[in-house]
Amino acid sequence: MKRTARCGIIAAMLLAASAHAQSPAADEAVLPPAVLAHASGEQIFQHICQGCHMPDARGATGAGTYPALAKDANLESAAFAAATVLSGRRDMPAFGPRTDLQGFEAMLHVDLDDAQIAAVVNYIRSHFGNHYADTLSAADVAALHPPTPHKP
């Protein structure tokens, strides 16, 4: 696909670049890819989720709304929360691993693995006024993956 190819030039620069080992310290403001790939549930919330859902998880409203995750009854179902992180919902991007994206599209995407998705869901469900006792495992998240689309 032409568009993908040309955007890929830029993407490749930016991606490859970040693949360089630039003193990957876990306390950096922007976690390098190698650190982000092993980030904890708390780190994932603070470096990604709170961009929209806000540091206190109360969400925000402008022309539309980012839902609050604080005291969120929808979090009763850990599977619902994990499926949302995995596959996205409306304007919320999917954070599940994608191997089909190329170039610029691949660059825009952030991959969280099953253990990380479980960790961030567990973190949110036990913070911000949420007190759900049950937890999710990587295997639970694995079971939520949509069937892999057949790629010729």
């Binding site: 030039i9 360089h20 922007v30 990604i48 929209c52």
Partner: protein, 535 residues
Amino acid sequence: MSDLSARFSPSRREVLRGIGLVAGGAAMYRAMTALGVTRGSKYTGPVDLSGAPRGASVLVLGAGLAGMTAAYELRNAGYRVQVLEYNARPGGRNWTLRGGDTYTELGGERQHCEFDKGLYLNPGPWRIPYHHENLLHYCRELGVALEPFVQVNYNAYLHSPAAFGGKPQRYRSYKADYQGMVAEQLAKVVGQGALDKEFDKQDREMLLESLREWGYLDGQLRYTRNDGTSDTRGYDKDPGGGLSGKPVWSQPLSAKDVLNSQLWHALPIGDVYEFQTTLFQPVGGMGRIGEAFGRELGDLIRYNAKVTRIVQDEHGVSAHYEDAAHPGVTRQVRADWCLCTIPLSILGQIPMNVGSAMADAISAVSYAASVKIGLQFKRRFWEEDERIYGGITYTDLPIFTIGYPSTDFFSRGKGVLLGAYTWGASAFQFTAMSPAERVREAVRQGSQIHPQYANEFENGIAVAWHRVPFAMGCFGEWSDELRAKHYDNLCQIDGRIALAGEHASYLPAWQEGAITSALDAIGRLHQRAVAGAKS
């Protein structure tokens, strides 16, 4: 081999130089036109909306470039037009932040732009390719003055903390060295007979000649330190006049360093169609276009109107809205037809009775993260110290980009750099910071490239697109798979409602995508309106 190369004379670069000196550009252009190399623009003006039914009305939702293009053309064609806009200003993502402006992001953080008079940040689009003809058409029509936008600057940098000890490399030098390295190695394998099957002797001679010119190789087809390579990659001491004028040649980087630095990733960016010379920017900031449209449409636009519901029936479309600043009281407007340009990130949350095909398409598209940060400095050190006039430095630091202003060159006053323009994982993380942290981080990272930051930085402003209240994301993030499944359904008229915006185009994030999608949609709405009036 050497007797082959001895016949390679003079290089095309030298020939072009000669033409430029003797005949000038016009002669070259005429020659190229005669050869069919260039061709005039095919743009034929805006959409044909002749014969609008008497009294027909269209409700336009959103006063970004898509909505205002539609409103402008529909009004001119005789439709009664009303526009609802969430913001207190026209333009949408066509937007410029200037000194004195305030901006409140989602979550409530308010930033005051403290830039000096005349300095600005374009948080959204900042460059216009020469072939975005519809956008350029409206700039001409609305009297928006344009000036060149410098994309490629041979004296800007390519940078990685992991390459060359973190020392930024001039684009000029690295590009020459990369080409020289590739040309020398390829010439070597040609000489060793590796391409004897693919090319006959004459072809191989032609290939070697082209490699010598393209890669600045010497008579022995080597890329070395000499006058030719220095006249491309730059001198250690530039040539001048008199007794002190003798130049000092520069030493090329080693081939292995050129390769392993991976800075070659950034070399072709300026070759991308949208980034090819010539690009333009409005004088005074990209927002001048939206402001001009806004003036033209005047009170057709109702500002501070937050759309909360869209209802169609067989006769028309109603939009419910409330005052964005003082919610509570709901009002309604109604028209025969509706062109909705609200970003899908927001439209997906607004109740609207369309069929499942369009509804599914609206819900399918997520929005990309992007962050831009403007930094004001006490002086234009990039010009004064480093001779960088416009253009872009690319780095693999999370800021990705340092953009130098393409205007006010040599001015004595302060200057504003684009201190970060970032995407993907980096943009998500910048978004998750407070505005002050974003600015601090951009200064910290950028000072690795420009140590002057430490003394010269004054203030900054940061826009993270997922925190922008009227957009909630940068642009609609289509994949090939999503496009195949949903794009046509998004663009088809549903009853009396059509959608437009960059999200309804094959030019995601580009203003030309927004404008062409609006022209396409109102053309189809017009046909329906005419057909309906006749039936």
